[in-house]
Each structure stands twice: as C-alpha cells, then as structure tokens.
Symmetry: C2
Subunit: 268 residues, 2 copies
C-alpha cells in the first residue's frame, strides 16, 4: 500500500462532504476520493438489505481505485453495513458512529448523552450500543429527526421553520438533562449555530465529521500510511447522478468549489 | 385486451396511492396493480436521464403483467418521461399533469392558476406548458415546495411547522391573486385541509388524483375497456423496498389497509 494513495470516503449523497471538509482541514497533504450515491439518496428510509447491498457496491468501487483507507461517512450505512464492508476490505475501514461515540464518551461528564439522526440510524440503535460498549453506565437518549435533512438541503439553516422543528425534536432530550449531543447525521453540522442556540451553552455538540478526521489522522500515523510528501493532492468526486441544485448544495457542505466531478452509471 | 385486466398505476414511491384511492372510489369494479419504486424514491431530486430510465423499467414491468391501461401517478415522471413511456406502450397511457391541467382550466374563472410541486416538476415547466396548450391566455404562477413531501411523511399534516412552511411557500402565489391552485404532487392531497385554511374559501384546490380518476373512467368507457362484471377485484402492490414505517405511511395515503404487497428486486 502506497502512502500517496487516496483516502476513500463514501456516503449516500452529499452529506459526507462535511467529512471531506474536516479531512481537508486536518490532513491537507492527503488525496481524497469521494463517492456520493446521489441517484439513490436518501438511504435513511430504505431497508437494511438494500442499504447493505448498496454499501458493498460502493466499497468495491473505491477499492478498485486503490484507496488506502475506507471511510463510511454516512451514519445510516455505518449503522447497518460496517461489518459487511470490513469483511471484504483489504484496507482499514472506519465509520462515523464509532468516531462520534468515542468523542461523546470523552466529552460527557454527567453520562447522559443525546443522539439525533435519521429514522434508520436511530432505529438501528447503533449509537447507543457503541456508547454502551465503551461505558455501560452511560444513559443514551435518542431522537429521530427526519425533517432536518430536507431543511438543510432547502438551505433553511436559520429559518423560523427549522427553529420550530428543532425545538420540537430536541424538547424530549433537553427534558432528560443531556450534557452532550451527538449530531448523528452528516447533514447536521450545518445546523450547529441554530442547535447551539436551542440547547444552550452548557451542552457539548459532538460533530462526527470533526471526530472522524481526528480518528483518521491517528490511524494513518499508527499504520505508517500518512502521506508526508508535499506532492500536489488530488480530490475526486464520483456521483451517480447530478441532480438539480447539486453544485449549490454540495458547495454549501464542502465550504469551497468542487473540481473534478465524475458521473458514474448504475448499476456499479 | 380483456376488460378484466387490471389498471396499472406507478409512482416513485407511495404518493401514487392517493391516485389508487381515488380510482377505488370512482371505479370499484376495476382491479388495480400498483408499482411504487420505494428503493429509489424520491425522484424529484434526480436528473432527467435517471428519471427516464427508471420510468421505462417500471412501465415495461407493468406491461408484462398485462395491464389494460398505464397511469403515471408521479408528477415528476409525468413531466419528464410521458412521451418515452407512450412510445413503448401497447396500451393507453395517462399522466397526472394532463389530468390536473385540464381540471384547472375548467375550474378557473380569472385564468390566474397557481401550481405547487417538487423542484423537478416545477423546473420542468410541464404544468405551465400543458395549461398554455389548452388556454394560451392563462397566467400560471409556480412554486416548488421541497419540504411538503417530508412533512407529509412525518405525519405533520396539521402541525405549526407545516403551517408556517405552507404560508411561506404560498405567499408569492396569493400575492398574484390566483383563483385556482393545482396540487402538483401526489403527496399534497393529504395537506388539503391545511392548504384550504391558508388559501381561503375563494381559491379552488385541484386534486390531481381525483382529476385522474375521472379521466380514467371516461377513457375506459370510450375504449370499451370498462369492467362491468361483478367479479371480485384484485389489488396488488409491487414495491422495490419495504422501508421503516412503510405500512403506517402507505395506509395514511390509501385510507385503508394494504393487502397483497410483493417485494421486487432491482434492477428490474
């Protein structure tokens, strides 16, 4: 495995670009290949069988591109398909749920941790199981927030509708006196300023994208896979569809323009 | 073609069940086969090429089941893929946009007609073109409402968030003094009571599902294809995925329980 090989990141759509953004900031000498399954997004409302099948297809696609590490940036795929992807992968596989759970455990003092995510992520109970594997005494309070993804994609990041929706979704968590809130979906970091206002200054917000970038940096060092050369890095974006408003939304997630976008036809 | 053959209805997901419901009420002696592409929903954010490809696959599937008429219940597919489906179909093809446009023309007195739908439907301009083909002097005012589908699927049919969202989306249409509003998405009939409150009693709401059932009844009579026998009817539901909360949401659309659901694997 060559150090110059790219980091492979995949997601059901464009949300995983928040992980790419965090990786670019934390690891500026690493190339990154991103796969977004924009033709079949969203995964959060699909069955486990379908999610598993799609995740395997995408992992194989990136492995054929010789990535040195595979990152599942989608919470839904992480919660459902991680073990299956790990079984077929010749390179290390990381997933956002583990990264977020570890960070939540480090941050929480009261051990009452809130989780928000898509219905599939929350129903999978993956965050609660992962947190309990690190701390059996932690109390985990979960809430599915199905409207947050469409609200972010509509660009209503600081809109009265989004505020009212967030107040309703977060009310039961705040009633349980959480001191840490895990943003268990890659779309949610864009709502951080609004969520911060609602939860108040005493609750720690755990951004899984940032947590993941820290984990990747540690693992690459540990395995001797970090690219220390000052070669020009390469960013590639593979997508299965280029829908309406794709560039606008994608750039909102990435915080910069997208260069090299390649349209990949299904089936993979 | 036998009169006992079923009516084929297809949609990107479960929204088309509002058309099935209207058909069951208007044509109680007809069998209905429904195809909902629940693994690949929503289509409203996909490109035209992808929508065309999926629509053709589904149409061929239903034609193999010997349906006597094909109904495109999805506004997005109607606006993009109608001509292509018609070219390969051996049976008559109807689509919701034509049905809705005809009804709007009949209902409007001021000739100022509002259209609401998904971004793909609105950007296709299909309703405006269809209405102008019947009445070149009509004025059409359109508004994309990307949050309505997730709000309906969340079940927030009479929720302050939905009210606030609808007020924001409908404000520009009401400012133009529309006298008729076409609900250009199969999910929207579930919002009728709330939309009625916002637009007031003077604006006619055109429900495409009801308009379609009337068109189908007329066409079957005209072609001598109406099933007048009092045989037991058969309702079949083909879906490409059975996601979380499928039955709950589907039954909300259909207004009754679903019987015979068959899971169809992709690719078709």
């Amino acid at each position: 495995m060559k150090k110059e090989n790219a980091i492979g990141v995949f997601d059901s759509g464009i949300g995983g670009l928040t992980v790419v953004k965090a990786l670019m900031e934390r690891l500026p000498t690493e190339s990154i290949y991103y796969f977004g399954d924009t033709a079949r997004v969203p995964y959060g409302i699909k069955s486990k069988d379908t999610i598993n099948r799609y995740a395997m297809e995408i992992a194989k696609f990136l492995l054929r591109k010789n990535v040195k590490i595979l990152i599942i940036a989608c919470n839904t795929m992480s919660s459902v398909a991680f073990e299956m992807v790990q079984q077929i992968s010749s390179v290390p596989v990381l997933e956002v749920i583990d990264a977020g759970a570890r960070k939540a455990i480090r941050e929480s003092r009261s051990r009452v941790i809130g989780i928000i995510g898509t219905p599939a992520t929350i129903n999978s109970n993956a965050y609660a199981r992962k947190i309990h594997s690190y701390d059996p005494n932690a109390r985990v309070v979960s809430q599915a927030c199905p409207l947050f993804v469409p609200l972010v994609e509509e660009g209503w990041l600081d809109h009265p509708v989004t505020r009212l929706t967030a107040q309703e979704y977060l009310r039961p968590l705040l009633a349980e006196n959480i001191d840490t809130l895990v943003l268990g979906c890659t779309h949610y970091p864009l709502l951080k300023p609004l969520l911060r206002e609602i939860v108040g200054p005493q609750v720690v917000l755990v951004d899984s994208a940032v947590a993941m970038a820290e984990r990747v940096a540690g693992l690459l060092e540990e395995k001797g896979l970090a690219n220390n050369a000052s070669l020009p890095v390469e960013y590639r974006y593979y997508v299965t569809d280029v829908p309406l408003r794709f560039h606008t939304i994608a750039e909102r997630f990435l915080g910069r323009g997208l260069g090299n976008i390649e349209l990949i036809n299904l089936p993979l």
